[in-house]
Amino acid sequence: MAVISAETVPVASEADIVTVRRCVRESAAKLGFSLVDQTKFVTAASELARNTLIHGRGGQMELATLNGPRTGIRLTFEDRGPGIADIDLALRDGFTTGSGLGLGLGGAKRLVNEFEVKSRPGEGTKVTIVRWK
Amino acid sequence: MATTLNHKTSNLGSIIAHHRDAILHAWSRDMIGSTRRNDLMKESELQAQCQQFLSLLQQATSQGSNIQAPAYDQLRDMLTEISRTRAIQGFNSRETAMFIFSIKQPLFTAIRESLGKDAAAMAEEIWLTTEIIDGLGLYTTEAYIKTREDTIRRQQEEMLELSTPVVKLWEGVLALPLIGTLDSARTQVVMESLLEAIVQTNSKVAIIDITGVPTVDTVVAQHLLKTVTAARLMGADCIISGVRPQIAQTIVHLGINLLDITTKSTLSDAFSIALQRTGIKFVRAQKKESVE
């Protein structure tokens, strides 16, 4: 499976979350994703970007367009923050209103086709998601 | 026998160059016999394809025998295009593949003419050629199959759209009669059509009729729940009608929680409730005394 193109977007401020949404939307639209699929994917990206900013204390997103037998987009969110101590717990649904500790990972996972989290306390976090057309 | 692959294959390129006309002639003749479909393709068109193929093959083989290599890109692209159009034109897979395979015999004849005196070289060349042609033949078949699969998928999508008609029963009331099994793909399409229709018709109530759905298991129930939840988020609500006694039993046995979604056994009961909710009341017309 080949990576057709890749770009990196810094996630260091709130404005960057909006940039992430715009970027992902553009790519998904260009590849011809359906409106619902676009919306799901952009929303997942928004969730993960916010995590990177707030919990990860800033990082970046890499967007890669994939080809090969299937067409899709892969997003990789990476930060050098405190990391996630208990990934299973983080994946469990648990939105709380207010400041909320819910990382929204479980929700984001349901919006995409492939989902992977790599994280260790003190070693940062890397979340990769893929949506196929 | 230390000669390299590339060295051997460069022979095929020049062999084709030398015997080009003879190869083309024999190839066409063989195809007419076995797989020619006059009804589907004109003679001149076929000839043009053969010539182009042979030229590309000549170029590609002079650079090696690995058909995945860049040298073979143009050739593979041509084959993809040929397979695609043949699939659409109505050739079957055998006829499509034979376009390639029927070139073997003419090539072997040409090889024999060129290398007949050197048995070892001839054998090597024939083997390499077989590998190349077989590889290209398989590639053609794969491309053909993909085109067919794409067509089937597109037809399935079209059928899905046709089978999810949303009906406007009254101002503000929609009905979605579901027929057949509800799988994931189908439910997505159904959900989206219904929600779109709600927005476009400004309908506050949507009746989902499942009379035509044979079984309701947890998966189906979940899909229905998601649809109703989404509709509510948008400001509309759903009533589920056509709930047969067996389905009611299944739902209880499986422990499915339908939240507070209203369910009715008949569409007419559901319609009645829907009208109430949209504030519509039907009044029987008065009988007129004959005045004339």
């Binding site: 709130e14 404005a15 979350i17 909006v18 949404r21 715009r22 939307r25 409106l35 619902v36 676009q38 919306t39 799901k40 952009v42 929303t43 928004s46 969730e47 916010r50 649904d93 939105f95 209103t97 207010g98 909320g100 819910g102 929204g104 479980g106 929700g107 984001a108 349901r110 919006l111 | 959900m191 989206e192 929600l195 779109e196 709600i198 927005v199 400004n202 309908s203 506050k204 109530v205 998601k226 939840t229 989404a230 509709a231 509510r232 988020l233 948008m234 400001g235 509309a236 609500d237 939240l259 507070d260 909710r277």
Partner: protein, 130 residues
């Protein structure tokens, strides 16, 4: 800094969200709205999200917060115009939008607000999302 305009229509306040908001803008809206409700004594708030193409958990929480805070100030909130793709995504995300009432459009939303204010009706079936 840009702000989302809050219009006054009689007893109601109308907010139309048309931009892709960044978090701070959303928080500012929350503040502004609660202040305006307090100042004007408005009984109802209508939030039109028909142009919003993305509602993630943050925006969802904001809507929930606005509904809660308004209620404390004795005002009802109705969110109108959610796009189908957004609704589908929110369901998948598992967002419950607890306590947020919804309607198809501004007209339906106004009607809902009027009814609930006049008759103190707690909910009209179909437009209160639980």
């Amino acid at each position: 800094m840009e702000k989302i305009p809050i219009l006054r229509m009689g007893e109601f306040l109308l907010v139309t969200i048309q931009v892709d908001m960044h978090d701070r803008l959303a928080l500012t809206l929350q503040d502004d709205l609660t202040n305006r409700i307090s100042e004007t004594g408005a009984k109802g708030v209508l939030i039109d999200i028909s142009s919003l193409e993305i509602v993630d958990s943050f925006i969802g929480r904001m809507l929930g917060n606005i509904a809660s805070m308004s209620r404390v100030l004795d005002a009802q909130t109705v969110v109108v115009g959610m796009q189908p793709a957004v609704a589908i995504t929110l369901v998948e995300l598992g967002m419950s939008l607890e306590g947020v009432r919804t309607a198809l459009n501004v007209d339906a939303g106004m009607e809902l607000l009027r009814k609930s204010i006049n008759g103190h009706e707690e909910m009209e079936y179909g437009s209160y999302f639980r």
